[in-house]
Symmetry: C2
DNA sequence: CGTGTACTTTACCGATTAGTTACATAACCG
DNA sequence: CGGTTATGTAACTAATCGGTAAAGTACACG
């Protein structure tokens, strides 16, 4: 239960409601009410989800009069992508040729290893 | 809380112990005892982690006498990679010009919001 | 057969999570 | 000022999670 950043990111993404919120924010910023609209749950529930996303660094919130517009912050996803790279040969079928594998080694050297 | 596959995968990855187990399995299959060795926790705890990973489809278990060797199954990670792709422009700075343009729109919105 | 080894299952515990309702705060609008 | 709108906080609940100890299962070996 180390609260490392990668764990926070994965945990935040492990909920379909939160992923739907991110999908909405990918097309531009939105208020909490706008984000809550597609769901059956109450506003406080959505507010909590936003808190989780914010804590994971996946969204940032501004302030505009009585609205608190949210926008997507993709930076934590880079850590996920970096982590994924180390397993690419296990899921990317177009990657199992030798030269591709050598290329993967090259890429791994460019990234610093995180866990 | 739809128990969709992607949620299961992300949830399984949201624990450093389980990610360490996957890292170990990336270099070849191992028995439960071998996997448990680096950790301070008891065997049943590791067994539970393996169950979570197995349920997420990230590992598969064989049977060899009294040993139950585990091996990594990367397929669910492809779903993660596919999901990630839709957000690439938010974290990959070396993306193409179209996405740089889209990203600049996003930044302008951030700028507007600060005023 | 009995004993050891390699695990799994069960039962429990404390912490966290995802949701609720009810209330509080904050800003605009007449 | 008072009312409406937008959002956050508090308190509660049920379910899940990560861990434990103890008992159960399955196989190998002498």
């Amino acid at each position: 239960m180390t609260p490392d950043r990668l764990s926070h990111t994965f945990a935040a993404l492990a909920d379909p409601t939160r992923r739907a919120i991110l999908a909405r924010l990918a097309s531009g910023q939105a208020s909490v009410t706008e984000l809550a609209a597609p769901f059956q749950m109450t506003m406080p529930a959505v507010s909590k989800h936003l808190k989780v996303l914010e804590r994971a660094g996946l969204i940032a919130r501004g302030r505009e009069a009585q609205w608190r517009p949210c926008r997507l912050e993709g930076e934590p996803l880079r850590d996920v992508a970096d982590w994924m790279e180390q397993y690419r040969r296990f899921w990317d079928e177009s990657f199992d040729r030798l030269d591709d594998y050598l290329q993967s080694i090259q890429k791994e050297k460019k990234h610093d290893e995180r866990q």
